[in-house]
């Protein structure tokens, strides 16, 4: 398994000079993307990609280089560039590859042979069926696109400090972008299904979600400005957690960019909030047995019963803070150095269904979608403001649709204002899981 990737790593590490610490990250992936529109294949893309990222540290100075090729001469050049770059990094005793910490990587089965073995025509048929079902669900529904995609990734980390590990993961998903039209009005929705093996994709559910999300917004109006309780759809909660994760990293804390720095042991959230980062859970789409520096991943509890427990660390922040790495080095591909980050966040779920939560809330707003999280949420200050669409909750049931409003608060307040967590956990194609979440005292800005 990925033996040739390990061999590339071995060759580079063997070239390390005395006094150098070297880390090689090698990755290769195979992707298929199918887009169907109006019953026809609009796009069919198949790709093999590979790359290498090499870190060299000498006297505490770090240099990095990458290349989108695994050819021997390119890899050799990349090592030379990384080595040359060390002259310009300023010394820091804590930088460098991870040191083995004796933690055994979890046994995870994240690979499915059926993705490579299934003929492309069958994958195309899945995307066709998704479009067909979504359109058939309601006469007002059409699609903008219906996609099938799969990815098979093999990766390896080899270091001169004694780390040598390889693994592989695969996954596939279906996603439909829907349009619902009535008169001059158009609303949009989406539905998707994510799985590790083809057979586990739920085409019918994805189609039904896509049709419902778009149609139920038809006739949406802008609400008046007010302060009320919101129920966040699982998809929205996952995005909130993803934004929150930026405040939970060792790097943000040590560099003075986290609003939670120095607050371990304090109540930072309502008591029913327990936040866990657990890439060892095979249900998580982002599950992985080892992190971006080759250390075993582990289950890290960040907030327990509302009390801040700690942060996620890579080897740099683990050394600097004295806590050691939590196996939480993340990489944005092979083109950058690893940094501390959350990999698979989730809230400990409650037991209520979304319908039960709506009944409990009585009056408020169900937030179905948010936009502009990257522009309206500042994880340093905590200011939180995002565009939203959804439905009014009246008498415990869903009422009229709403659009073109914002929800505003701060990250700090939102955590304290959580009044219920649903039991409807959804694993999504991202670094966080969704669950229905009830948050009180949020500002809705509209008319």
């Amino acid at each position: 398994m990925a033996d040739d990737l390990l061999a590339i790593g071995d060759r580079v590490v063997a070239d390390a000079r005395p006094g150098e610490r070297v880390e090689v990250y090698v990755v290769r992936s195979r992707d298929t993307n199918v887009r169907v529109y109006d019953g026809e294949v609009e796009q069919l893309a198949s790709a093999q990609s590979q790359g290498v990222g090499i870190r060299v540290v000498r006297e505490g100075r770090q240099g990095f280089a990458y290349a989108g090729s695994l050819d021997e001469d390119v890899v050799r050049e990349t090592l030379a560039e990384a080595r040359d770059n060390t002259a310009f990094g300023e010394p820091d005793a804590d930088v460098g590859p991870a040191d083995p910490d004796g933690v055994a990587p979890p046994e995870l089965d994240l690979w499915s042979d059926d993705l490579a073995g299934t003929p492309t025509v069958d994958k195309i048929e899945l995307a066709r069926e998704l479009e067909r079902l979504a359109v058939a669900a309601d006469p007002r529904v059409s699609t903008e696109s219906s996609d099938y995609a799969d990815t098979m990734v093999e990766g390896a980390v080899v270091t001169s400090t004694g780390i040598r590990i390889a693994g592989r993961e695969s996954g596939c998903y279906l996603v439909v972008s829907t349009l619902a039209s009535q008169g001059d009005e158009t609303q949009t929705g989406f539905g998707f299904s994510v799985a590790r093996r083809l057979a586990d994709l739920d085409v019918a559910q994805a189609a039904a979600d896509g049709a419902e999300r778009a149609t139920r917004l038809l006739g949406a109006m802008k609400p008046p400005t007010s302060r009320l309780t919101v129920v966040l759809d699982p998809w929205v909660t996952a995005q909130l957690l993803s934004v929150l994760s930026a405040t939970m990293t060792g790097e943000a804390v040590l560099k003075g960019r986290s609003l939670f720095a120095g607050r371990e042991g304090e109540a930072v959230a309502a008591e029913l909030v327990t936040l866990i980062d657990d890439p060892t859970n095979p249900l998580a789409f982002t599950a992985t047995a080892f992190d971006g520096e080759g250390l075993a991943t582990r289950r890290n509890v960040l907030i327990r019963d509302g009390v801040l427990q700690g942060f996620v660390h890579d080897s740099w922040s683990g050394r600097r803070s004295g806590t050691g790495s939590t196996g939480s080095a993340v990489r944005a591909g092979f083109k950058s150095t690893p940094t501390s980050g959350c990999m698979a966040l989730s809230l400990q779920p409650g037991t209520a269904t979304q319908a039960e939560l709506l009944a409990k809330v009585g009056d408020g707003v169900l937030v179905q979608g948010v936009s502009g999280l990257h522009s309206g949420v500042n994880p340093v200050s905590g200011d939180f403001s995002t565009g939203a669409e959804g439905l009014r909750i009246r008498g415990g049931e869903l009422g009229e649709p709403l659009r073109e409003f914002t929800i505003g608060s701060t990250l700090q307040r939102i955590l304290h204002d959580v009044v219920a967590v649903g039991g409807d956990v959804q694993w999504l194609p991202m670094d966080a899981a969704g669950v229905s979440l009830v948050v009180a005292d949020v500002t809705i800005s509209g008319i």
Partner: protein
């Protein structure tokens, strides 16, 4: 980059089993970047990415495959993979002999960044760090980044087009954290142009650092932004992203064709205030979104999208233009050889108006003045869009008063365009941007004079 005879044979291989159009896109990208954080130059990074993407179009169906192997065998293998999407049969077209087109680049590059010593690049980071930290005691953290890239591309297609471009970009950015009684605030500034290292002859990174620091310091005094709908004045050069989101994306022909744009079928109609003339211009020398050719080999051009409020045209890539029997507008772009091209903006801006910008503020009784916008997002089918404000002030009785904390603004594109009721005479281009669409990011520029929207919804928490 690759011999013409090889390209010709690969195009032939791509069409062997069917299809009516084939294209080879070759890209060789080298980049270098440096990052300073927490008072220390953390590392210098060098990058190399080179490969080719091959596209085969058969009617409405596009097949695509890419490879990092630029040998003839590697290219042929990718061509066969791309051809798999085509209906099997015999192609109706023959590959036309390649005709090399001259590329008119928007500007020359004076100093290729690859010729500049790494130590010189690192020095910029330290100067910016020192300047930001000297701006005030409340500055507690600074990060700065330098980046340059040289992207050489070649496009050859079965219609005989052969064109090349050499795109050099250089940028610098700085992020400052200030801390006070009200918690922490951030300030951000960036510069970027389609030029070489001469960027730093024109801009002073220390001045940039002081501006970023001042922005963070000012916000320590900020109060929560208001909630509700009110007039919004946007400073020149600070808010081009408004048009990018309010109508730019909605004027991309691929979205229009799928009825996913509120601007579908509205050419010739008044869609904006008559004050507004909106242009997308890939030829705009030195700007962040400037290109010699687009990523389908067509020369960049200046396209007027809205003239005096009337929608004149959409933006086009090759595929959509072919369907409509017209010429592409130089807007077919892609992030890299890993990606299919699609309709993208280049430099999108609103032409100058006539009013005195200070007078626009004076004539606003109560509202919000946005000096710097962050990113944004739009739903082109409904027209609803948001954009962030990273520096803003309250306007009371025609004067700027308290600074405001960050937040999003939300509006509907067609409504906001109609509600532009004042346009200044102080046009400026804004900061470099990266526009995301369908998972691909490309560099874009934007600009506008000071302007007022009579009603926009501010997503704050205050009354």
């Amino acid at each position: 980059m690759i011999e013409e005879s090889v390209l010709q044979r690969v195009l032939g291989a791509a069409l062997r089993t069917g299809g009516d159009f084939a294209e080879v896109y070759v890209e060789d990208r080298r980049s270098s970047s440096g990052r300073l954080d927490d008072r220390r130059v953390e590392e210098l990074t060098s990058g190399r990415d080179r490969g080719a993407g091959i596209r085969v179009v058969d009617g409405e169906t596009t097949g695509y495959a890419h490879t990092a192997d630029l040998s003839e065998a590697g290219l042929r293998a990718a061509a066969e993979a791309a051809a798999a999407a085509a209906r099997h049969g015999t192609s109706r077209v023959n590959v036309v002999d390649l005709d090399r087109r001259a590329t008119r680049r928007p500007n020359d590059v004076a100093t290729l960044p690859e010729t500049v010593a790494k130590a010189t690049k690192v020095e910029l980071l330290k100067r910016a760090d020192d300047a930001a930290r000297s701006a005030g005691k409340a500055v507690v953290q600074v990060s700065a980044g330098y980046g340059d890239s040289r992207r050489r591309i070649l496009v050859a297609n079965s219609e005989g087009l052969l064109a090349e471009d050499d795109q050099v970009k250089t940028n610098f950015r700085i992020n400052v954290v200030a801390s006070g009684d009200t918690g922490m605030q951030t300030g951000y500034e960036s510069i970027g142009h389609t030029i070489g290292f001469e960027l730093f002859d024109r801009y002073d990174v220390e001045e940039l650092a002081r501006r970023a620091a001042q922005r963070a310091l000012t916000k320590l005094q900020a109060r929560p932004a208001p909630s509700g709908t009110m007039p919004v004045v946007i400073k020149s050069g600070g808010g081009g992203v408004l048009f990018h989101e309010a109508c730019g994306h909605g004027l991309e022909a691929d979205l229009v064709a799928k009825s996913a744009s509120v601007f579908k079928g509205r050419t010739g109609e008044l869609v904006a205030s008559p004050l507004v003339t909106l242009v997308d211009d890939g030829t705009m020398a030195e700007e962040w979104g400037a290109i010699g050719i687009d990523d389908e080999g067509h020369p960049s051009q200046r396209n007027v999208l809205i003239q005096d409020g009337v929608l004149t045209d959409y933006m086009w890539d090759w595929l959509r233009a072919r369907k409509e029997g017209r010429r592409p507008s130089g807007n077919g772009r892609r992030q890299s050889y890993h990606h299919l091209p699609m309709v993208r903006m280049t430099n999108t801006f609103v032409l100058n108006g006539t009013e005195d910008p200070e007078e626009i503020i004076r004539q606003t009784e109560r509202g919000v003045y946005v000096a710097q916008l962050g990113g944004g997002q739009v739903n082109t089918a409904t027209g609803d869009f948001v954009f962030g404000m990273t520096e803003a002030y309250l306007i009371e009785h025609g004067e700027l008063t308290d600074p405001l904390r960050e937040g999003n603004l939300i509006g509907n594109g067609p409504e906001v365009l109609r509600n532009i009721d004042a346009l200044g005479n102080d046009f400026a281009m804004g900061s470099p941007g990266t526009c995301g669409k369908d998972g691909q990011g490309v560099p874009v520029g934007d600009g506008q004079p000071t302007l007022r929207v009579s009603a926009l919804t501010i997503g704050g928490t205050a009354a």
